[in-house]
């Protein structure tokens, strides 16, 4: 059966560790070899998503001195890799680094003739897993995978390094798209428009915050949208939902989102879901990036759990207007949080705590209409989109940046949250062992 896509997601810290190891000089080998552990999911539309969960190196003593190739490893190293597949019930990818590749690295003749036999032997040990080989370059990644039961290796169509910034490699189709429309944002980088054009973005919640996000993404040239909102437009939404007017009352919010996007980008690909996303989880799992624009802590946690499991960066935005007992003036606050796999989660940031969740449960059914206004939604959404653009294009040069911004609507400030100073990384709540389809163990 033909696959739609083969997507590989690699956390930034794992790839950094691999490159650091693979670039170490060896006594006689001119290259090094390592292995990635992986797990995978095959979606109902036959898209394969592979998640890299760990890296392990080959011991210095397990290289064979062979002047015909950059690196050759002995049977001890291969046995170790095979044992690892068995012990961890994991997929395995042979990985090496081509320092001379400027963009997408190519596999060498030796890679293509020697390695398939090794990959085949991986398949004999880990029959239910997908194995393959990956070559890393300075600015891109290439990969071939061996599906269960397949005789030949299949090229990956999209490889994503998940971090800040993200790096996307499209080995089969890397044509740049230049359009006059985006001339004024060309400072974002020469590949930026390609990245924005290809990234698949999920927006959960197309109301007050989400409508701003959607509109700005369309202006930027994002063309792949998955929009979720189970709601219809009511009169009380018209004070803040951009794109919606009086005639839209009673219409689905996702329809307004689609209209808004198509008005800016007639050729955009939009999947709109007028339902809770939890009933369509595979549509989330396929996204490269998620914006969470929901009201509740429980809703946020559900989204973050899914994003962490499937190695998807998430930006959460939200605002609240509440009354402090001793003051007659309402207090307007908000937040923008980046939840990036491997990095601190919303629990680490002290935002999504058991105390907050318990308070919300205690208030269940008493919430009523919550105060919301257009300008604070706009500020939070705009800055969230700015963070997204930086992550996708890397235009500022920021690296591994943590984002937890606190908005004070009374003062009109958006600053780093004080808790940022105290957060520890990496995140202890979402280890990579929990990535991919859930696995239970007998007790």
């Amino acid at each position: 059966m033909k696959n739609n896509e083969v997507i590989i997601r690699i956390p930034r810290d794992i790839i950094d560790r691999a490159i650091k190891d693979l670039r170490r000089p060896h006594q006689f080998a001119s290259e090094r070899i390592g292995f990635f552990n992986s797990t995978h999911k095959i979606l109902n539309n036959n898209t394969i998503i592979i998640f890299i969960t760990d890296y392990f190196e080959v011991d210095d003593n397990d290289y064979i001195d062979d002047c015909e190739v950059g690196a050759r490893i002995n049977s001890t190293a291969i046995r170790y890799a095979l044992q690892n597949i068995l012990d961890k019930q994991s997929g395995c990818f042979h990985v090496h680094y081509h320092s001379f590749s400027e963009i997408i690295p190519e596999f060498s003749f030796t890679d293509l003739t020697d390695n398939p036999e090794l990959i085949k032997s991986f398949g004999h040990v880990g029959r239910n897993q997908i194995h393959g080989m990956i070559v890393l370059g300075k600015n891109g990644v290439n990969a071939l995978i061996k599906e269960q039961g397949a005789d030949i290796l299949t090229p990956a169509t999209k490889i994503v390094i998940v971090g800040y910034p993200m790096i996307f490699s499209f080995p089969n189709n890397n044509h740049r798209r230049n359009s006059e429309i985006y001339e004024r944002q060309s400072f974002l980088g020469e590949n930026s428009q390609l990245q924005l054009n290809r990234v698949k973005v999920g927006i959960i919640g197309a109301g007050g915050g989400g409508s701003h996000v959607i509109q700005q993404l369309a202006y930027l040239g994002v063309t792949n949208f998955v929009v979720f909102d189970y709601d219809v437009i009511e009169k009380t939404n018209l004070n803040r939902m951009v794109g919606a007017g009086a005639k839209d009352i009673g219409h689905k919010k996702v329809d307004i989102a689609e209209r808004d996007i198509k008005n800016i980008l007639p050729n955009a690909r939009i999947i709109k879901i007028n339902d809770d996303w939890v009933n369509h989880p595979e549509l989330i799992q396929e996204c490269d990036f998620i914006f969470g624009c929901v009201d509740s802590y429980v809703g946020r946690r559900n989204i973050e759990l899914e994003c962490r499991r499937y190695l998807i960066p998430l930006i959460d935005i939200g605002m609240d207007i509440h009354q402090i007992e001793e003051s007659p003036i309402p207090n307007m606050t908000g937040q923008i949080i980046l939840s990036l796999p491997g990095m601190p989660c919303m629990n680490c940031f002290g935002f999504l705590t058991e105390t907050n969740l318990a308070k919300e449960t205690a208030k269940y059914g008493k919430a009523g209409g919550r105060p919301q206004v257009v300008w604070s939604n706009g500020i939070l959404a705009s800055q969230a989109v700015g963070t997204f653009v930086d992550i996708i294009t890397g235009w500022t040069g920021n690296n591994n940046k943590l984002v937890y911004l606190a908005y004070d609507g009374n003062l009109g400030t958006l600053i780093d949250h004080p808790r940022l100073k105290f957060v520890s990384k990496p995140c202890p709540h979402f280890p990579y062992s929990g990535v991919g389809p859930a696995k239970f163990k007998s007790i």
């Binding site: 809770d276 939890v278 009933n279 989880p281 429980v298 946690r301 559900n302 973050e304 759990l305 899914e306 962490r308 499991r309 989660c345 629990n347 058991e354 969740l357 318990a358 308070k359 919300e360 449960t361 205690a362 269940y364 202890p428 709540h429 979402f430 929990g434 389809p437 859930a438 696995k439 239970f440 163990k441 007998s442 007790i443």
Partner: protein
């Protein structure tokens, strides 16, 4: 989270196919085809037991289906946990019990 070995043994004796997994700092026990009290529809369902505080409850039992044929309860917990959608009722139990007793106390909500 670590649980007393004797309580885990007891859980395994009563629910021989019990399995365990962790997610987001929480530990869960999967109880496949858990038999529900008499009168419940369905008669059994997969259940997920969280024996630690979550969402303001000291412990919680989630079900893969909502349950009828029993006293009507407030199904206020829709959660996506460990790659699956779950439902839970608002039901508080005394936390000072053994794991097996906690599960029984949660099931008491469905007894006629």
């Amino acid at each position: 989270m670590e649980f007393p070995a004797d309580e885990i043994d007891e859980l395994r004796r009563v629910y021989s196919n019990v399995q365990m997994a962790e997610e987001g700092g929480y530990t869960y026990f999967l109880l496949p085809y858990l038999d529900l009290p008499d009168g419940c529809i369905p008669t059994n369902t997969d259940a997920l037991f969280c024996a630690m505080p979550r969402d303001g409850y000291t412990s919680r039992l989630y079900f893969s289906d909502t349950i009828s044929g029993c006293p009507q309860r407030n199904w206020n917990g829709q959660a996506r946990i460990l790659d699956r959608n779950w439902h839970a009722i608002s039901w508080k139990v005394n936390p000072s019990q053994r794991l097996i007793q906690l599960i029984r106390s949660h099931l008491d909500a469905f007894r006629l």
